[in-house]
Homo-oligomer: 357 residues x 2
Amino acid sequence: MSKQILILPGDGIGPEIMAEAVKVLRLANDKYALGFELSFDELGGAAVDKYGVPLADETLERARAADAVLLGAVGGPKWDKIDPAIRPERGLLKIRSQLGLFANLRPAILYPQLADASSLKPEVVAGLDILIVRELTGGIYFGQPRESKVLDNGERMAYDTLPYSESEIRRIAKVGFDMARVRGNKLCSVDKANVLASSQLWRTVVEEVAKDYPDVALSHMYVDNAAMQLVRAPKQFDVVVTDNMFGDILSDEASMLTGSIGMLPSASLDANNKGMYEPCHGSAPDIAGQGIANPLATILSVSMMLRYSFNQTQAADAIEQAVSRVLDQGLRTGDIHSAGTTKVGTAAMGDAVVEAL
Amino acid sequence: MSKQILILPGDGIGPEIMAEAVKVLRLANDKYALGFELSFDELGGAAVDKYGVPLADETLERARAADAVLLGAVGGPKWDKIDPAIRPERGLLKIRSQLGLFANLRPAILYPQLADASSLKPEVVAGLDILIVRELTGGIYFGQPRESKVLDNGERMAYDTLPYSESEIRRIAKVGFDMARVRGNKLCSVDKANVLASSQLWRTVVEEVAKDYPDVALSHMYVDNAAMQLVRAPKQFDVVVTDNMFGDILSDEASMLTGSIGMLPSASLDANNKGMYEPCHGSAPDIAGQGIANPLATILSVSMMLRYSFNQTQAADAIEQAVSRVLDQGLRTGDIHSAGTTKVGTAAMGDAVVEAL
Ligand SMILES: CC(C)[C@H](C(=O)O)[C@@H](O)C(=O)O
Ligand SMILES: CC(C)[C@H](C(=O)O)[C@@H](O)C(=O)O
């Protein structure tokens, strides 16, 4: 009954932060007898270097065969000038799509120990705990046709297509409602139904799904207003469900409200809760290789993996508590460091979590 | 040599705030011998009620013939259930498109007198002065084809199209660079070039236009990162240029950073600087008819009109100074009221600006 975990460290700070997460994962594996077997492969720029493509077929097969995937981060200036078709991000988009990981869960939680790090006033963000549920395999990210061409008059033009089907909307709406049920019973669906045809269908289908969740308070908000309300009064939100592009924008805005994006994990799930787990932050090429990156978002991604894909609540809680304890001890990587706390590097932070666990 | 100004008060608080702006406009007209002739018509819900459509042909003809248009705000629950084709917003989108108002300028300025109103820490937003230049007549707002249909398998689906041509991108990029030149010489172009074909063309064309502006420092940012950076460190931005949808989202987010969206005007210009001017805020149906709405954004829209469409710098400056004086006097409408200041209604605020002018 062993479980296969595929580890994709990726680019930039990916390998460094993943090394720490793997320490924590191995310890949890032993301590809670989880029966995990780890294997390693490449995604993104590292895969371009090794295989010539950002997601090799054999890697995709390994990911399919695995019970869960743990990802570091992808991308970097080294691959900025290559053929757009094999840019590192293409590997990320392809694995999401090929594994059917349509439900992207991005929590924005303010850790009390890090309250100062936010650029917002303390009373506006204290206790902040939002979950953004982003549709991840549809919409304008994957819509066909898309094209770049030269018109008869010699002018260049390019276009993308933003499609949504009823079933795509229904399944992500259900995830939103299900999440709201185990949280604060409030779901806000974000769209641009006053302008977009796809958003009008989105709103209609979300309303239909709502009939099965009479206990969840549903509201609708236009995306421009949501971007404002996240700044004005973010604590009005519990769970937010939205499309791929709006979710990309709003989840990044929401995570930055906490001031400590280096702390935030994310999960991308398929219909059976098989998932890929990764930090919300990027590959931070500017600090790669220096041993100063914050590994906590990746470590917390391990915790999310235990919770969502393996139902190992106890082990998941233990990791979160270990992270909290390390923050209580005053340990901070550079990104969350402030006066009166102790600055540590990536490995020291990982070791401290292992110790606390 | 008289100049025609078409006034469209619109819905909700529109008529109330417009009444005050018109007082200020009439005074400026007399005082600076501007030779303006004002005429009035309807847009949005009010036009649906009067003409059966949110923008009547005769109104559009009047707008074409006018030298500038001053708009209140459109929309409200009264028209929420009508045929989507004649919703109030459709009138707004149509007038933008038909008048060729492709350049939407949305300043986000923090008034020192209102520094407390922001949900961000004072040091993060003190002195904030950003200009968002939003493309307003292209992209996914108007892209064809767009459709809602039932597939052969009985499933509903809907899609929108996001097109951009070289010439559309070039002309809005030029506006961005021109604005940067008369401000801080910094332009940030926001796109999603790592995913969208239209964004790749956007970035290419902006780079080409940049060759004519070697004195302006150009940077590129992905829209998700921009949404984060606006929260983290908004003062890094001077002028931001972006597409219609991203501009809708980011300009609302940016304006909310100030905490006083009731203060922010906007301009929508065509190729000859003919423009439509309106407050950034909406029609606020919840407080309509109570005489408590903030008229200052509409009054400042008059100032923008004098500046951009008529080159009347002196009169424009005088209105801005009058607004500033009224704030110095401690007068505040409910939306910007705080302890130690004097709460006034819409008309009293308008009268105070007239007085100060
Ligand atoms: C790297 C990029 C393609 C990706 C996205 O836009 O989805 C990233 O921004 C994210 O949110 O995971
Ligand atoms: C009312 C709506 C259609 C409009 C838009 O999306 O452009 C509004 O949000 C705005 O920004 O002026």
